[in-house]
Every structure is written in structure tokens, then in C-alpha cells.
Amino acid sequence: SAVISQKPSRDICQRGTSLTIQCQVDSQVTMMFWYRQQPGQSLTLIATANQGSEATYESGFVIDKFPISRPNLTFSTLTVSNMSPEDSSIYLCSATTGGWEQFFGPGTRLTVL
């Protein structure tokens, strides 16, 4: 298994600014992912964070808006750039250790004013 922490847990940001969310895993993992979730709704995959290379983005998400880093096997960051109120959401990090199960962080609740 893997225990995942995220920072910050929540933030309120002004339109036009950027926020970087950190995801730390307590052990080495194979894959890391970033999701977005509207409160009470399902999860939408933003991208797969690849260690040592550019992230793989899903349809509708682009690197300029959501740059992702993964410098090693236990850490990743997601930046939400040039934020607008439509970016208000919960952002979740997850990781796998080789099987199908994904372990999730507690999420970062972002509000953009």
C-alpha cells in the first residue's frame, strides 16, 4: 500500500494567479496520476505524471494550463495556471504500486474568486 499526502489541503486564490499542489508518497510507486473532482461528483483524470519525462495529458487538459512535475518516484506537483473561477474544484493525486489499485491523497480544495 501507499500513504499519500497533499499540500495545501485547501486554498482560496485570486483570478489570474497560479497555485502549485504538492503530492508526497511514503514509498516508491510506479505510476502517479492527477484528477479533478467537483464536490460530490466523480473524478476526471487530468494527466499521468511520468518520472523523468513530460506528463501524459487527457483530452481537454493541456500542459500550459496544468504543468506537472515528477522529479522522483515519490513526489509530484500539479500547477493550476492563470486560474479562473471555473478551476474551482478538488484536485486529487493518486499512485499505484504495480497493481490496478490506486491509492489516493485527501485532495486539495481550491476556490478561485
Binding site: 460530490g40 466523480s42 499521468t48 485527501p106
Partner: protein
């Protein structure tokens, strides 16, 4: 685009009752998972089903994978208030998960 539709979207029942949640897709998945999520937390895996027709039991929860590996159901017997939460099915393919639309379950004491 792979879509997983869950029904019902919302369900509120009395403690002790039984319920079934459905997860349907037009796509075939390598495996299908069920997660439960509580407020302020990330989803937590309940079960993974891999083989068409497979049935797995986890205490009062029974999970079934359709023969064609496109649909699944979750049955809860004698629901308890602790079962309250957001239930999400997720189909696995190419090392990624596609999450279902979610079922918000509330068990009334």
C-alpha cells in the same frame, strides 16, 4: 470516450434495508473496481473484479462483474449508517482508470 454510468445517482434508505447500485458501460474493461469516498478524503478501494461473471463478497457487500466485463453491481445487505458515502465504480484499461458518475448513498439511522 469510455463512459461509466451509475444508477441511481442518489439513494437514501433506512438502516437495515438492502440496496443495489449499478455500473454500466458500452466498453470492455480489463478489470472493474469499486471505491468509497467520504467527505474530505480520497476514494478508498473496496474491491477489484477481473473475470466476467465474477462475484466477490466483502462482509455485507456483494460485488458482481458482468459476463461481458462491461457492467457491475454492488449489493449491500442490511445497510448501516457507516455505509454512507459516495460509491464510485472505475474501469481499468491501459493502466488508467475511468471513473463512473457516482452514487451518493445515505443510510438513515
Amino acid at each position: 470516450t469510455q463512459l461509466l454510468e451509475q444508477s441511481p445517482q442518489f439513494l437514501s434508505i433506512q438502516e437495515g434495508e438492502n440496496l443495489t447500485v449499478y455500473c454500466n458501460s458500452s466498453s470492455v474493461f480489463s478489470s472493474l473496481q469499486w471505491y468509497r469516498q467520504e467527505p474530505g478524503e480520497g476514494p478508498v478501494l473496496l474491491v477489484t473484479v477481473v473475470t466476467g461473471g465474477e462475484v466477490k463478497k466483502l462482509k455485507r457487500l456483494t460485488f458482481q462483474f458482468g459476463d461481458a466485463r462491461k457492467d457491475s453491481s454492488l449489493h449491500i445487505t442490511a445497510a448501516q449508517p457507516g455505509d454512507t458515502g459516495l460509491y464510485l465504480c472505475a474501469g481499468a484499461s491501459n493502466e488508467k482508470l475511468t471513473f463512473g458518475t457516482g452514487t451518493r448513498l445515505t443510510i438513515i439511522p
